[in-house]
């Protein structure tokens, strides 16, 4: 079973719909027991970084996730803000500490092209790196759907996909059992569903 972590601010239903569609048992939950019982986790997210970290703290989820992901080595897929929360910090609306699982930070998209607007909303051609586990058997470049104003910066070796938006935007990170996509696989039609299938097929 995949636990979709409910911390009060995500596009939870669409993730659940996509997992239902590919035939994977899943549950939207903030219940610690259910999260412990899951064999993998999805951390979705729509919203602001600071509020999201606060919401995780308030539900005791930060500690639980720390234990499940860091100590137990459970697979986790962060989506959009969910991926950004893996970083050490973000400067969205002040400086906020993140989960710190990916050595990197989250900053506002700084596009060199003044014609490109922020937030970065829409489909974008995405260069997929061959070592990636999330993008196995998906032809590069892929088309994925993005909605974000902030983006992650991290060690190049952790990046498994990137897109260009007047600047390089980190599209996906993979660091052992910690995986994340800046885009929304649950909103990216067939290729997005393929990413979710790959995540489901991974072994920790």
């Amino acid at each position: 079973m995949i636990a979709i972590i409910d911390y009060g601010m995500g596009n939870l239903r669409s993730v659940a719909n996509a997992l239902d569609f590919i035939g994977v048992d899943n549950e939207i939950t903030s219940d610690h027991e259910r999260i412990r019982a899951a064999d993998r986790l999805v951390l979705p997210g729509v919203g602001a970084f600071g509020a999201a970290m606060q919401a995780l703290e308030q539900r005791g989820l930060r500690r639980l996730l720390e234990q499940q992901v860091r100590s137990e080595g459970k697979l986790i897929l962060g989506i959009c803000l969910g991926m950004q929360l893996f970083a050490a910090c973000s400067n969205e609306g002040g400086i906020h500490e993140g989960l710190g699982w990916i050595k990197g930070d989250v900053t506002r998209i700084d596009s060199a092209d003044v014609n490109l607007k922020v937030p970065h909303i829409g489909w974008n051609a995405t260069e997929l790196r061959s070592h990636s586990r999330l993008f196995a058997d998906i032809p590069s470049p892929g088309d994925f759907y993005y909605v974000h104003s902030y983006a992650m910066r991290c060690d190049d070796v952790l990046i498994s996909a990137q897109c260009d938006y007047g600047t390089r935007v980190v599209a996906a990170v993979e660091h052992g059992n910690v995986l994340g996509t800046q885009f929304h696989p649950e909103k990216s039609q067939a290729q997005g569903l393929a990413v979710l299938r790959n995540f489901v097929a991974l072994s920790a």
């Binding site: 489909w123 974008n124 929304h184």
Partner: protein, 256 residues
């Protein structure tokens, strides 16, 4: 993108905001190929009491089979409304009257969900002299406010996108109000989606190339039946516009 208008259990076509039913969820699912749509806007166009809970339930049904980005709204007044729509599977919230009636709520929605989550739908109408003004409450109340000024105000509130509809052009198949679109595009730094008036594929091209819209929407669902959208996108690309997004292969789209 496709704009679906719902009134109770029925999907509606709209002509200058006068509604006509085109089918229920079953017929929509039968005839529309959601895997060829880049983005979906679903609006509760029920007049008067919106019956939000019923709309949320129908949205939830619709989105079980639809893996594209969805903006939903119509009568959104509170953070609870926002949360209910997001829980039903929406990615973005569409606000309209609230920007005029309750800007504090819009600001708090931006604070809570982020700019990228809040779309301001502006319904603009020209008076006899051709002067533009924004209308709210399903196009029934004239704010006497210039749509450009309103768009700027909502950008200041932190709204992430403008969904700009010409009431005059809506459902007329005469093409977008390009002057309206151009003036709003020039005034704000956030993406603007042109809506209202598409009758031919070339209107999509005009909206993007001539008026500078970041995306184009059509509400007449018959554009999207069968291969309509694939053809529309191919047409737009043939005309030299390389906007991002998958060039849907109709059959591949079905190979989910």
């Amino acid at each position: 993108m496709l704009c679906l208008m719902m009134k109770d259990e029925l999907f509606m076509n709209s002509r200058q905001f006068v509604l006509n039913p085109v089918g229920n969820l079953e017929t929509i699912l039968q005839y529309l190929h959601f895997d060829t749509i880049d983005e979906l806007v679903v609006l509760n166009v029920k007049r008067g009491d919106k019956n939000m809970p019923a709309f949320v339930e129908r949205l939830r049904e619709l989105l079980r089979v639809c893996f594209v980005p969805v903006a939903a709204g119509g009568g959104v007044r509170s953070l609870d409304d926002c949360q209910a729509l997001l829980n039903a599977g929406a990615d973005k919230i569409v606000v309209n009257s609230a920007v005029v009636n309750d800007p504090d709520f819009v600001r708090s929605a931006v604070d809570r969900y982020g700019s990228q989550c809040i779309v301001h739908s502006i319904d603009a109408r020209r008076d006899r002299k051709g002067r533009l003004s924004a209308w709210i409450e399903d196009g029934s109340v004239d704010t006497k406010c210039d749509p450009v000024a309103l768009a700027k105000r909502s950008e200041q509130l932190g709204v992430g996108e403008i969904f700009l509809t010409s009431i005059d052009r809506d459902g007329t198949c005469q093409g977008y109000d390009l002057d309206l679109t151009r003036s709003v595009v020039a005034a704000v730094g956030i993406p603007v989606i042109a809506s209202g008036g598409v009758g031919e594929y070339r209107h999509f091209v005009e909206g993007i190339r001539d008026a500078g819209a970041n995306a184009v929407s059509a509400g007449n669902i018959f554009h999207f039946v069968g291969h309509g959208l694939s053809k529309a996108k191919a047409y737009v690309r043939e005309n030299g516009l390389n906007f991002p997004g998958p060039l849907w292969n109709f059959q591949a789209g079905h190979r989910l």
